[in-house]
């Protein structure tokens, strides 16, 4: 049997709806993301971008629709949480490192405690990831001693150490001082270039244009349009996209 790796999407969303009380955040989202693809989701604040990410790893349960990650159905009530979180990593806007643990512990603790992998092996991997993130000498520091950009790179290493198939990046540069945005974006780019499937919610249009394979534009809980970046940024077809781009570019 020969199936090309791209014939079946790694992640698919079908008719995903989510409401918070009376407010409908997502009103029927369909997406297909293939292995190794880098997808950027852009759109105005409150358009549901972050909620889309959070439904993919089950942090936000959906009201309607199905989400699949490989053979896992996220909306399944019998969902194996650990299995899903093993496959889907996440990096947050506010880094959310554990302040009472060292950098190395932050990166290594979940694979050891949750996935029950051997400590030595995980710590070797964590050290290597910290070196990849250009933080080799910070292993024994505490998060509070690092800059925002450094903390965010630790958070990326922490997500990578779980050896996921996809990583969700939720506005990972939005809380950073301008001079640190670049170092974090180049870290994200490195992750993407190493073949990781990445879904980014971002306000960095330049980065979306350069690094993404596909750009989705969301507004008021729906996907208005999506296209490869070259096409998306040069010939947006929907007036809402054009209006948004005219504001941010």
């Amino acid at each position: 049997m020969t199936i090309s790796p791209n014939s079946q999407p790694l992640i698919s969303l079908r008719g995903v709806h989510k409401s918070f009380g009376a407010f409908e955040v997502l009103r029927g989202i369909d997406m297909d993301i293939c292995k190794g693809e880098v997808v950027a989701i852009i759109g105005p604040s409150g358009s549901g971008k972050s909620t889309i990410l959070r439904t993919i790893n089950g942090l936000t349960p959906v009201n309607k629709g199905t989400i699949k990650v490989g053979d896992i159905t996220v909306s399944d009530p019998e969902l194996d949480q650990v299995k899903l979180r093993h496959r889907v990593g996440m990096v947050f806007q506010q880094y959310n490192l554990f302040p009472h643990k060292t950098v190395l512990e932050n990166v290594a603790m979940a694979p050891i405690q949750v996935l029950k992998q051997p400590r030595r092996e995980v710590e070797d991997r964590a050290q290597k990831l910290l070196a990849d993130m250009r933080l080799p000498d910070k292993a024994n520091s505490y998060p509070g001693e690092l800059s925002g950009g450094q903390q965010q790179r630790v958070a990326i290493a922490r997500a990578l150490c779980m050896e996921p198939e996809v990583i969700l990046f939720d506005e990972v540069t939005a809380a950073l001082d301008p001079e640190m945005v670049k170092e974090v974006l180049s870290a994200v780019r490195k992750v993407a270039e190493d073949g990781m499937t990445c879904i980014l919610v971002t306000h960095e249009m330049g980065f979306a244009r350069e690094a993404a394979d596909h750009v989705y534009f969301t507004d008021k809980g729906v996907i208005v349009e999506h296209a490869p970046p070259a096409e998306f940024f040069s010939q947006a077809s929907d007036p809402r996209t054009a209006e948004f781009l005219s504001k941010v570019l």
Binding site: Q81, H86, F98, H100, V114
Partner: protein, 228 residues
């Protein structure tokens, strides 16, 4: 009688009062141990998503937090048996022990709120990050959240202890031989109205000298933990 004689006379009664004060300390130490242990369970219970654990924990916490300490004390003194039989062994429950148990209830309820408040003070992002890494709610609480908020719980816990100690003279009303009761007895025995003020001043000094450093230390710790 001269003033110096008066002071000597008061000084003679001091060991008697101090022995009573030892009882106050003993009751407060025992009550803080029991109250902290029970309060930990109540506080974690309040955080439970399970209705059958969460609701009773919240109810008990609110009940004992809002009840007057003296009323709880009366309940324990008059409703608890003088002795209990456990597997053929008779354990005496003297009034000081019953009073201590009475003090443990409000301490437990207040500590329950300290635990709940400390856990709630940890940013939501910590829970989300742990969840995204595959930690269960329970594992998140014990491995990630509680280790962070233990230090935040120490200053209010010390305040609670100081409050508890200053409440222990209430047990005099139910006949426990502690410092206030002994001071009163000593004043009566001397049948001299001039000793009244210095005797009670000495009693206040005992409580102050014991409690003040605790409150100071808790303030210092609070400041230190806040800047971290």
């Amino acid at each position: 009688m001269t003033t110096s004689n008066l002071y000597l006379q008061i000084l003679e009664w001091m060991p008697f009062v101090l022995q009573g004060f030892v009882m106050n300390i003993l009751m407060s130490l025992l009550a803080i141990v029991i109250g902290t242990a029970v309060g930990t369970f109540l506080g974690l219970g309040q955080l439970s998503l399970n209705f059958t654990i969460g609701l009773p924990s919240k109810l008990l916490t609110q009940l004992f937090r809002n009840a007057p300490w003296l009323v709880l004390l009366f309940y324990c003194i008059f409703l608890m048996p003088y002795q209990v039989n456990i597997a053929g062994i008779t354990i005496e429950l003297p009034s000081w022990l019953r009073a201590t148990i009475g003090f443990s209830f409000p301490v437990a309820a207040n500590f329950s709120e300290i635990v709940r408040g400390a856990v709630k003070s940890v940013p939501r992002g910590q829970w989300e990050a742990a969840e995204a890494l595959g930690y269960s709610r329970k594992a998140t609480l014990f491995r990630i959240i509680l280790p962070q908020c233990l230090t935040r719980m120490i200053p209010p816990w010390m305040n609670l202890y100081a409050l508890l100690l200053t409440a222990t003279p209430l047990s005099m009303i139910v006949g426990v031989e502690e410092a206030l009761g002994r001071t009163q007895a000593a004043v009566q025995a001397q049948s001299d109205s001039r000793v009244l003020i210095p005797m009670y001043a000495a009693l206040l000094a005992m409580f102050f000298l014991y409690t003040w450093p605790i409150n100071r230390l808790s303030l210092v710790l609070e400041r230190r933990f806040r800047t971290k």
